[in-house]
């Protein structure tokens, strides 16, 4: 669907949008169309008809009703930090940006919930929770830009999934406008609610293809105490798995991340951060835990010693202050930003934890043998079986040629994913980038059912068309 299918002229549609949200909340200038017409993926040229900024759920409903009447495609837009092209508008769609719906309200200290408009920035919610002496645990590198609505639509994961789960686990209620233009209040913040299907869950991770998330009641939890990080240098990938198993069997880790020496080198150079220790190791693991007392520290140290004796770990440091904790985390969190200048081709794949080592070595073998010129940067959240495979663009290749070759790599990689029963998109969603590969993770029957579900909520197909599947 594109603007060519519109029932009325583009000018008329824009005037109708202006009538809903006000003249100054509909923008058609080149800068806004460009900035709000895409996410972090840079593969598609943005070309929306207009960007509209609603300020209430009623505005959103009116926009969706107009979209149905005019056969106008709607693309939701949050913090635009997505990595799969879920928020790309390249065909004359109207972009619905939640930038002005950024209010927090109805904090309830007993339920430990707070109501967020979809445009609340993740970090804003984290800070709010902090001020109440509570904690919002979903966290990732783009938390300073990404919005709650986008987090929910993509079921964002991040660096604390091991202990606290994905965004899905923190959504106590949703207010959505369906593709048909109905407002639904889903779940109302209930912890227990087995009265029928939980439609809320369908909207989480739907990437805006069923409707638009306007407000959410988010669950908060107690603050972790004295978070402390280890960064350990590891000989090989098996060592990472061994050390993960050893720590995990005796301690409650809040995070377990890994990255390669290549990744570390680039981050240290880019961010001017000190290396954790002088020796270089092929891989690094970042473990985080709550240091409740001396006993926890003793226990962690004893585990470290045991891992050194086993020959899995070569060296290590422990954060002694929040500043050091922050800087050690940056070694991992700054990777995405650091490598963005190489226009990386990103794969966000997962398998069950036990299969990770074999999975990783198979993927590495195939890329190394078929594309020896490509530099690979590995990092990821071992603790949840999620690996980020990044292929950097050699300067000698132009963008389209590079992406074309990477497409071939993807087929080989996804073939392995399929054999391992893994996912072609662990936490980034499908969007435009992965839709051709959906069948590697989902059966034809499943995909057919997904289409039916979409049909039910979005009978005219106006909601983010072309995303997840055609």
């Amino acid at each position: 669907m594109s603007s060519a299918n519109l029932h009325s002229s583009p000018e008329r549609v824009i005037a109708e949008l202006q009538a809903i949200v006000g003249e100054d909340k509909v923008r058609c200038d080149a800068d806004t169309l460009h900035s709000h017409g895409r996410d972090w993926t840079k593969a598609w040229e943005p070309a929306p008809l207009a960007v509209v900024f609603p300020r209430s759920t009623e505005h959103v409903q009116a926009i969706v009703k107009l979209a149905n009447a005019e056969q106008l495609a709607v693309v939701p837009s949050g913090g635009r930090t997505g990595l799969s092209g879920g928020a790309v508008a390249a065909n004359g769609e109207v972009v619905v940006s939640f930038d002005y719906m950024n209010q927090l309200s109805d904090f309830n200290a007993i339920d430990r919930t707070v109501r967020c408009q979809a445009g609340v920035i993740t970090e804003q919610l984290q800070h709010f929770a902090d001020e109440q002496g509570l904690y919002y645990p979903v966290d990732f590198a783009s938390a300073g830009s990404s919005q709650i609505g986008g987090n929910i639509s993509t079921n964002a994961g991040g660096i604390k999934v091991l202990r606290w789960g994905m965004t899905r686990d923190w959504v106590a209620g949703l207010t959505v406008v369906t593709g048909a233009g109905d407002i639904l209040e889903l779940n109302n913040g209930l912890l227990k609610n087995n009265a029928g299907y939980d439609l809320r869950q369908l909207f989480i991770g739907a990437e805006g293809t069923l409707g638009l998330i306007c407000e959410a009641t988010m669950q908060l939890t107690r603050q972790p105490k004295n978070l402390t990080a280890f960064v350990l240098g590891v000989e090989n990938f098996d060592g990472i798995m061994n050390l993960f198993n050893r720590f995990q069997s005796e301690m409650d880790l809040t995070a377990f991340e890994f990255f390669s020496e290549q990744a570390l080198q680039k981050v240290v150079e880019h961010s001017k951060l000190p290396r954790p220790f002088e020796s270089t190791c092929p891989y690094y693991a970042l473990l985080e835990f709550e240091k409740l007392n001396d006993e926890t520290e003793e226990q962690a140290m004893a585990l470290f010693e045991a891992c050194v004796e086993e020959g899995w770990v070569l060296d290590g440091v422990m954060s002694q202050s929040l500043e050091q904790l922050k800087n050690l985390w940056r070694l991992r969190e700054d990777i995405s930003e650091t490598i963005s200048r190489w226009t990386p081709y990103k794969n966000d794949i997962s398998t069950v934890i036990s299969k990770v080592p074999n999975f990783l070595s198979e993927v590495e073998n195939i890329v190394n043998s078929e594309y020896p010129d490509f530099e690979i940067i590995w990092f990821g959240h071992i603790g949840d079986g999620n690996l980020h495979l990044n292929i950097l663009k050699p300067d000698s290749l132009d963008k389209s040629e590079f992406f074309e070759q990477c497409g071939k790599v993807s087929l080989a990689v996804f073939d392995i994913v399929q054999r391992f029963g893994g996912s072609v998109s662990a936490e980034h969603g499908v969007g435009l980038l992965k839709k051709d590969y959906l069948q590697y993770s989902r059966s034809p029957e499943e995909i057919a059912l997904m289409r039916h579900v979409k049909q039910v909520f979005d009978p005219n197909g106006v909601m983010n068309p072309g995303k997840i599947f055609d």
Partner: protein, 249 residues
């Protein structure tokens, strides 16, 4: 050459501190504590001097409650050889600290004392200077470079609008500024080794020092909250507001 390094246990730099509801002090309940960043730089500098073969022994000393052992252990993990805790539950102020340090200096006879130019809790910037006065040692404050040469040390000082290099006869007191160095992380093997390094505990009484506070805190309150900015419609309105509201033009 023996080097004495002072380390203070303070509220972690990244903690947003809040006053107690009765306004008597900052609320330290369940707040992350850490080594004062300037002290950390002092430790790093001492360790570098040892790595260069200039320093032979580094003694880390802290004055405070029993838990201040944690910060001494951090210093030991970074490379100090032994620690001294002068244990007191009293809120010790700069003059008291300086007197205690003088007693330790008398006992240990270091050639160089390296300490932070200030602690980030009290922001006093007094202890190093007071110690130099009490001991009669030379002082080089706000150091961004320290070069020991035989019986003297050249200290490059960060002063308003530039740098000043002074040459001090040893023994001397040097206080550190932020740009002196970038402290390393404590490695896990060194943290384990640090547990076996000697850590002596003394009390102010044993040193014959009275650390009773001389200055009384009357009230602690948070800074006024910053008002949100506003948007003006045009230059004329801006000028009008600058003239009549802000009264800056």
């Amino acid at each position: 050459m023996k080097v004495l390094v002072a380390v203070k246990r303070v509220v972690d730099y990244n903690v947003k501190v809040r006053p107690k509801s009765d306004g008597t002090d900052v609320d330290l309940n369940n707040v992350k504590m850490a080594i004062n960043p300037f002290c950390e730089i002092a430790v790093e500098e001492a360790v570098r001097l040892k790595e260069k073969g200039v320093a032979t022994e580094i003694i880390a000393v802290s004055i405070g409650p029993k838990v201040a052992q944690e910060q001494i252990r951090t210093a030991l993990a970074l490379g100090a050889d032994r620690g001294i805790l002068v244990e007191t539950e009293e809120d010790v102020q700069p003059l008291g600290i300086a007197k205690v340090l003088k007693a330790v200096v008398d006992k240990e006879q270091p050639q160089l004392v390296i300490m932070g130019k200030q602690a980030i809790d009290g922001d006093n910037n007094q202890t190093g200077q007071m110690l130099a006065a009490l001991t009669g040692m030379a002082q080089g404050t706000f150091a961004s470079e320290v070069a020991v040469d035989g019986d003297s040390v050249a200290v490059t000082r960060e002063i308003d609008g530039g740098l000043q290099t002074v040459k001090l006869a040893l023994p001397a007191v040097v206080t550190t500024d932020l740009r002196l160095n970038e402290p390393r992380y404590a490695s896990l093997p060194n943290i384990m080794k640090a547990k076996k390094k000697p850590l002596d505990t003394l009390t102010p009484d044993e040193l014959g020092i009275d650390v009773t506070p001389r200055v009384k805190t009357l009230k602690v309150e948070p800074p006024a909250e910053r008002q949100a900015g506003i948007k003006v419609a045009d230059v004329a309105e801006l000028v009008e507001k600058l003239k009549n509201e802000a009264k800056v033009i």
